[in-house]
């Protein structure tokens, strides 16, 4: 009975694990196959490892540009999100001022109300007026503007930093601004790390926003956009190997980060339930 139960249990777990891993593994292996093998070979392992796929995708299929754009968008928006959200979390947690409650409810409101693609239109028009649609700064600003969840996470981390520390600093004549940079930010590092992970992942994986903003500007496209465009292109059938290599370029950095910090990734998701 016990053996039967264990067999069922482990068969189930292994099947689910296999189904979970299969698409990612097949992408990785597929990125080393020729296009012919991918579209008709029915092989699992590549017959002949085509490392040149990456070189060609990097050069011919513009993946060098896409990768750099993705890196730029993800890095800039992560730094911006951390800065904007930590400044707000600091004053909301430590200072008294009129309108604090309104500000906090405003942030909560933006987190829960979503009306879909409509917002992209006014956002796009706004960026044209500000002349930010010719670069990726428009995308970056919009990504930073969605910093409500980072704000709430940092707010809860702020609670863990003893108030005596900034009071002592104030008695010593330290201004609030200096206290923020010299005392709060170093102590907020764990929270900032978790937020950075999530902001980076969100920006790196973002598709619709950069897609809409770079419709007519291929030189600004990110990995997700460039990759999805391959699928729509006229030559799609002959570029499956590029799709696989491109998908790997997008998946691998975040997957490597996940392997090293999967606890932080999971802690964050689990934490959102309580917060």
């Amino acid at each position: 009975m016990k053996i039967a139960w264990n067999t069922i249990l482990w068969t189930f777990l292994i099947v689910v694990a296999f189904l979970t891993l299969f698409p990612v593994v097949i992408t990785f292996l597929g990125s080393f196959k020729t296009n012919a093998e991918l579209t008709a070979g029915a092989t699992f392992l590549p017959a002949d490892w085509q490392f040149s796929n990456y070189l060609e995708a990097w050069k011919q299929a513009n993946f060098s540009t896409y990768t750099l754009n993705s890196l730029f968008v993800a890095t800039a928006s992560t730094l911006g999100t951390l800065l904007v959200a930590s400044m707000a979390a600091y004053v909301v947690n430590r200072m008294d001022f009129i309108g604090k409650k309104i500000y906090v409810s405003l942030q909560a409101f933006t987190m829960f109300v979503a009306i879909g693609a409509v917002v992209l239109r006014p956002q796009f028009d706004l960026m044209i007026k500000l002349h930010l649609h010719e670069s990726l700064w428009g995308v970056i600003l919009i990504l930073i503007s969605a910093h409500a969840s980072a704000f709430f996470i940092l707010l809860s981390f702020m609670n863990g930093i003893p108030r005596e520390l900034d009071e002592a600093a104030r008695i010593d004549g330290c201004s609030p601004g200096r206290t923020f940079w010299r005392i709060i930010i170093p102590l907020l590092t764990p929270g900032l790390g978790v937020c950075a992970l999530f902001a980076f992942r969100g920006a790196w994986n973002e598709y619709l926003l950069p897609f809409v903003f770079t419709l007519s500007k291929p030189e600004l496209q990110t990995l997700t956009v460039g990759l999805a465009n391959l699928k729509y292109g006229v030559a799609a059938a002959s570029q499956t190997h590029f799709m696989m290599a491109g998908a790997c370029l997008s998946i691998l950095p975040i997957l490597i980060a996940y392997i090293f910090a999967n606890k932080s990734f999971m802690q964050m998701t689990a934490g959102s339930l309580k917060g």
Binding site: T20, T39, A42, Y103, L120, H147, A237, F265, T269
Partner: protein, 300 residues
């Protein structure tokens, strides 16, 4: 020390966040709330039309088909992902070998871009020379390629892809809830001779109630809102079979540039009205669910 100075400092630190939220978060919503009463196609004059856009929504058969598709999609996704996530969470909450590795594996899909995986799944499910059909024909000796993205199976395929991406997330949320159930309840029930199934039915389910109510609500909202992977995989096709309501809204604002669908024009005014209706639909379902599931949050 100097209260006015502190207040001024606070506002200055809050300013970047406040401006960004107002300009890029709140203003677009107000924009949509205004234009839903206008006829505006993105160029030329905008014309106030009162409630005409809403009358048009009521008569818009394509939209209501997309609503029906949304319900099928969301329903299918929930029915598959929630039970699977709960079962995995319960198992991985036991002290079994390799539970940390398994948790990490099951959660992995949630860290990868939906759009990127949609491209990958497209090459897997592609009817003509997709990877899955290659394997099926070679190893299971299936004669004709299955048209996974065709009229009959496209909805099932996009649901399966959505389930792949969602299970890990809900598993982890369930696990967080399970860890709040005191372990000694299980121990004492085991002493009384309860088996694992009985424990699941009479301890886990009732004690998980409030958390489960929240997780399912989150899952419902996510399922109703999701369209990114559908957009990349099928673009709502074939013949609108996988066209969900948020994708329908998207296309009113960003009509496809090429192909036969190019006859479609931008509909900012009408699109805003449709978006408002979709938000109302999501709101109504959320409220209905909340009332319907009240019993779950009462621990008894």
């Amino acid at each position: 020390m100097n209260k006015a100075k502190n207040v001024a400092f606070s506002y200055s630190f809050l300013l970047p966040s406040f401006i960004l939220t107002m300009v890029l978060g709140i203003y677009p919503m107000i924009w949509a709330l205004r234009y839903m009463f206008y006829d505006y196609k993105g160029f030329g004059a905008e014309r106030f039309v009162g409630l005409a856009n809403f009358e048009r929504v009521m008569r818009d058969q394509q939209f209501w088909e997309s609503v029906a598709n949304t319900f099928i999609y969301a329903g299918g996704k929930l029915l598959l992902s929630i039970p699977l996530a709960l079962i995995l969470a319960v198992i991985l909450n036991w002290n079994i070998k390799g539970k940390n590795l398994l948790r990490a594996i099951f959660f992995m899909p949630t860290i990868i871009s939906t759009a990127v995986m949609a491209v990958v799944f497209f090459t897997i499910f592609n009817s003509y020379n997709g990877i899955l059909n290659q394997f099926l024909m070679k190893y299971l000796f299936i004669q004709n390629a299955v048209d996974w993205l065709g009229v009959d199976y496209a909805m099932l395929t996009v649901i399966l892809v959505a389930v792949w991406g969602a299970v890990g997330n809900y598993m982890l949320l369930f696990l967080a809830g399970l860890q709040n159930i005191p372990q000694d309840v299980y121990e004492s029930s085991a002493l009384d001779g309860a088996n694992k199934l009985q424990q699941f039915r009479y301890i886990t389910i009732p004690m998980l109630g409030p958390v489960m109510q929240m997780i399912i609500m989150l899952a419902i909202i996510n399922a109703l809102k999701g369209y990114e992977s559908i957009m990349v995989m099928t673009d709502g096709g074939p013949i609108g079979k996988t066209n969900v309501m948020f994708l329908y809204v998207y296309k009113l604002f960003f009509p496809p540039a090429g192909g036969a669908a190019a006859t479609q024009i931008q509909e900012f005014g009408y699109g805003s009205a449709v978006a408002f209706i979709t938000a109302v639909i999501v709101g109504i379902i959320t409220i209905l669910y909340f009332y319907g599931s009240r019993r779950m949050s009462q621990n008894d």
